[in-house]
């Protein structure tokens, strides 16, 4: 347990929440994008979080593998940014859109596929990420002030 481990843990939380906010911003900016380089409309992206094991000695990792219940304290890490495949794309009738279906024989004539981004969901996620960021900043301040107080013992 080092002097600055608490700061590293809070910093990982700040990084993760900031990345989440960036992904939300990307979703909101692309809420009406019907054309992407991969083809098709923009698909909503989500971030995956996982608890990060701290880099520690072999003895403590071995003990954990043997089933001791004390958890690893390493903060959080982002496992990846994946596309949301569970929410379906929205199908909107708009013949004036340049990406609408042009084939009169197709049942989708005049329909265009829009991204599956729901603005209200993104707004709520944005608030959640922002509050989590604030909480991590407060904890980082508390850890820093505790360390500085410890350095003043006896002076």
């Amino acid at each position: 347990m080092g002097l600055f481990d608490g700061l590293d843990i809070s910093a990982s939380g700040l990084t993760a929440e900031r990345l989440r906010l960036d992904v939300i911003a990307n979703n909101v900016a692309n809420a009406n994008t019907t054309r992407t380089p991969e083809g098709g409309p923009y698909r909503r992206e989500v971030v995956g979080f996982a608890a990060r094991p701290s880099s520690e000695s072999f003895a403590s990792q071995f003990n954990r593998a043997l089933g001791s219940t004390s958890p690893a304290l390493g903060g959080v890490e982002v496992t990846g940014v994946t596309q949301d495949t569970t929410n379906p794309l929205k199908r909107v009738y708009d013949p004036s859109n340049p990406d609408a279906v042009r084939n009169p024989a197709s049942p989708d004539y005049g329909y265009v596929l829009m991204p599956n981004v729901d603005i209200s969901t993104e707004m709520i996620d944005m608030i959640s990420a922002s509050r989590a960021y604030d909480a991590n900043v407060t904890v980082l301040d508390a850890s820093k002030s505790m360390t500085m107080k410890a350095l003043q013992i006896g002076s």
Binding site: A16, S70, P71, V139
Partner: protein, 136 residues
């Protein structure tokens, strides 16, 4: 001179409080992680045991080191803060049981406890300094 019981107790409490801060930082950093369960630090009960202040515990009286130990061992050097995983409940849909309000208030309490302990250690040292310099 520096190995008094009170200084050792304060030192152990400071270690536990620093570990507690790390555990809370980890909990708050993982407030959005699916499936994450919060942890807490157990320390006060074992410290009280070691200081001999807990009442009503049945402790076996040993006259020989080969006697079996009944009740909690109360050697002071064995008192360690332990991190305990809290598997109990789940507050949200994604399996995460971190309550952000409870954690933030625990952080505030822990910070004040740490400051109080640091002040106590300061006072111990200044008492020693006073004695050494003869009150000058």
């Amino acid at each position: 001179m520096f190995d008094t019981r009170s200084l050792r107790a304060i030192e152990k409490a400071l270690d536990a409080s620093a570990l507690r801060q790390r555990v809370y930082a980890n909990d708050i950093a993982n407030v959005d992680t699916p499936g994450y369960k919060r942890s807490h630090v157990d320390f006060e009960a074992s410290l009280q045991n070691a200081l001999g202040e807990s009442e009503g515990d049945l402790v076996g009286f040993r006259t020989d080191p080969r006697h079996m130990q009944i009740g909690q061992p109360s050697t002071f050097a064995d008192v360690q803060p332990t991190v305990v995983l809290d598997n109990s409940s789940s507050l949200t849909n994604n399996g995460n049981n971190v309550d952000i309000d409870a954690e933030m208030s625990e952080v505030a309490k822990n910070q004040m406890t740490y400051d109080a302990l640091v002040k106590q250690m300061d006072m111990q040292f200044s008492m020693l300094k006073n004695v050494i310099t003869g009150g000058q």
